[in-house]
Amino acid sequence: MVHHLLFFVFAALAVGGALNLLVQKHPISSALSLILVMGSLALLYLLLGAEFVAAIQIIVYAGAIMVLFVFVIMLLNAGEEEHTKGSRFVMVFGIPAVAVLVGMIVYVLANRSQMNTGIELGAFVGSTSGVANLLFKEFLLPFEVTSVLILIAIMGAVVLARREP
């Protein structure tokens, strides 16, 4: 019962934040709604027993990536959005397409029998040592490759954002 209540509260927060991102005109309001979505997703991860993933979701996503977004919005002084001819055209065809997409995915997911097994609170806990064991034994090569990826991203960002001398 408590599990249902917690799930619906956080799910409503997440969906509300996502809809707010869609509806708001100013990018900074969209950015803050996205931070709210990420926070409620972190709480949902805690309900699913993924404590390490929840903590790094807050630290990395909500605390670093979104700070970068907010920084850029403030620096570029982005104003409110304007609706152009292209965007109205997309809305006419886009809204039915999006409705069909969500209907399809929900139908497929809700009708498979395996998907109705329940999740018990606390039955499975993703401990840090478990994730670390997997990361450094089975997934060592992807881990090293991501470190090279981050290095490339740093060099790319520095080169792209530099002013022409």
Partner: protein, 100 residues
């Protein structure tokens, strides 16, 4: 006992809202944020499946998705700043010609 399908349906709804925001919004930074929303929705599916199968590989995949999202956000925002410097606008409909 909340069924797994609830979490997966929530992930689908968030993903679809991300797709809708990607299509309907005109500000390039907001479009970028909708990509992050889509990535987050997929992360939720990964964690839900990890709980269903009692396998921690789902959490490791979420870790990798976060790393890639961080790298992509950094480079993408650098590109946006470079585009803003030349075109003086953040509206994607106005950045539709190769030459000014």
């Amino acid at each position: 006992m909340v069924p797994v399908s609830y979490y997966l349906v929530l992930s689908a709804i968030l993903f679809t809202i991300g797709v809708a925001a990607f299509l309907f919004k005109r500000n390039i930074i907001t479009i970028f944020m909708s990509i992050e929303l889509m990535l987050n929705a997929v992360n939720l599916s990964f964690v839900a499946f990890a709980n269903l199968h009692h396998d921690l590989s789902g959490h490791v995949f979420v870790f990798f998705v976060m790393v890639v999202a961080a790298a992509e956000a950094a480079v993408g925002l650098a590109i946006i700043i470079a585009v803003f410097r030349t075109r003086e606008t953040l509206n994607v409909d106005r950045v539709n010609l190769l030459k000014l």
